[in-house]
């Protein structure tokens, strides 16, 4: 401590400068979010007329208007729809991706090398390359305008990124535990569910969080598959505000935007430590 303090005396000022720079950058970075929160509480006449970030008085009625929803569909309904899709996606991804990952990480089978390479290649595959035929398939099955096209693919491990993430994690687990389980007479299924899966929890949580947030934020897939207002998600309902040219609806519109971001913020606050570390390790190992 003392020796570095002496040898780096001029850095004291440098360190303060770094902190100041970071704080300044943070202010700019967080401005849009502050703006969102402030505007969601501004009365209609203040949105344009006043340049102050902070509202003159807090217009909570914006939130009451927002709760009424869009086109007679209440926000609770929209929120429920969004949660249903995101929840289904989380369950699907965690299940199907961990199953596939276990096979790739631990079991031997023919074509393992080529299939693994194929799986990695699909991480880079643009979604749009398969989008139209997928749409046609779901259309033929009469499943357009239902939630199946949004949830079913997750149960088939189509998001290879997560398969890869879990494979990487499982490879780091000690093999001895599985060997022991096998000597005790556990088959591959029991040793997967009893031994491997519990140890894989960190990777599964990372998968769950990212699946939730990406599905929650997803717009494109919902835009093409859902038509009925009462099947809309929060994201789709917000989209109908996009064309609104008048700023009079700003308050309720951004109140609804805040509501739409709340689940992500809650997820982030609850798991942020986990999330950032999971992200970093998956990225660097990749």
């Amino acid at each position: 401590m003392t020796s570095t303090a002496v040898s780096r005396k001029p850095l004291g000022r440098g360190r303060i400068a770094v902190h100041l720079g970071c704080l300044a950058a943070l202010l700019v970075m967080l401005y849009p979010l502050a703006w969102l929160l402030a505007t969601s509480l501004k009365p209609a006449d203040e949105v344009v007329a006043s340049l102050d970030l902070l509202p003159g008085h807090l217009e909570w009625s914006n939130y009451r208007t927002a709760l009424d929803g869009v086109n007679d569909v209440s926000v609770w309904r929209l929120l429920g729809n969004s949660l249903l899709i995101a929840g289904g996606a989380v369950v699907g991804n965690v299940l199907s991706c961990s199953l596939a990952a276990y096979a790739f990480a631990r079991l031997r089978f023919r074509l393992r090398g080529p299939l693994f390479a194929f799986m990695i290649a699909t991480i880079m595959l643009p979604h749009h390359a398969v989008l139209i035929p997928q749409y046609i398939i779901f259309n033929q099955l009469g499943l357009v305008n239902t939630y199946w096209p949004l949830i079913l693919p997750k149960f088939l491990a189509t998001e290879a990124f997560f398969v890869f993430l879990i494979v990487q994690f499982m490879r780091g687990l000690p093999r001895e535990l599985e060997e022991a389980a096998r000597i005790d007479g556990c088959g591959p299924f029991r040793s997967f569910f009893r031994v491997v899966l519990p140890l894989t929890r960190p990777a599964l949580i990372t998968t769950a969080i990212f699946t939730f947030i990406w599905t929650w934020n997803d717009f494109f897939t919902q835009l093409i598959y859902l038509f009925d207002q009462d099947k809309f998600t929060l994201t789709l309902a917000l989209r109908s505000f996009v064309d609104a040219s008048s700023t009079s609806a700003f308050g309720p519109m951004f109140a609804m935007s805040v509501i739409a971001l709340l689940p992500i913020v809650l997820f982030f606050l609850a798991f942020q430590r986990f999330l950032v570390e999971g992200m970093a390790s998956s990225g660097v190992k990749g």
Binding site: L30, T122, M124, P133, N217, I224, I264, V284
Partner: protein, 312 residues
Amino acid sequence: MTTTAIPPEAKRAPAASPRSRTARRREGAAWVFLSPWVLGAIVLTLLPMAVSLYLSFTDYDLFSPPEWVGLRNYTQMFTEDPRYWRSVVTTLTYVVVAVPLQLALALVVALALKGMKRGKAFYRSAFYAPSLLGASMSVALVWRAVFNDGGTVDNLFGTGGWVNKPGWALLAVALLTAWQFGAPMVIFLAGLQQIPAELYEAAAVDGAGTWRQFLSVTVPMLSPVLFFNLVLQTIQAFQVFTPAFAISAGKGGPADSTLVYTMYLYDRGFVASHMGYASAMAWVLLAVIGVVTAVLFRTSRSWVFYASEGDR
């Protein structure tokens, strides 16, 4: 010599030996574990890719059966469709502006946080937050309002709303992407922490200053992570949709200046019901992303440094 090296029981194991039975059972188990993925890979990836390749040579509107038109979609796209080229140029401009800007911000902030003792976890989380929120419709709507006439940017710089000015509107989209630099920053930061301190000490002993250490130690040691981020963000940037859609109120304007590739694909396929044409566009996108990735990998040989290379 060779014959003695092979253990006798492995040389010609009888099919019914307990060992191969377990092996076969384990192979069977592997396919059970894999079955959802295999089904998805065939039904939702391989089959759709083949179908979209076929459709790209047809006229198809979802209602009447596809009609074979040979290469017409492709020739029309390349020679008769100015909006297509417009969307290509728009997307390339966006990629070339947004990705380097985002990665530069990520690297600078990661370097600033690297040596920090206090507050690092806080800054890391705070700078990361936009990466989680930025892809949402909510934030895209904020962006549109902040960059619109009478919005914050207009009031601050007196430039008028960027959203209604060709060129500037796309910059607003790119800034929204750059704003989400937290994800690559976290990866940079993890990469920086894996650089052994001995390398810096050795460089310092050799008389290298801060700048020299950055160029001779940090840059080469970080290059694999930089490469990883570059490939990942470039591939993602080619597929940008939501921010361009929201900032232009779903129209790709002004004057098609934010009509990125995927928006035009959506317009052709799902608004105008030209599924064949849109399929052809999807395959060109796939090919372009493939070529760009291949080029990045090829150039990486000359600038990405793998420390473990000597061991191999």
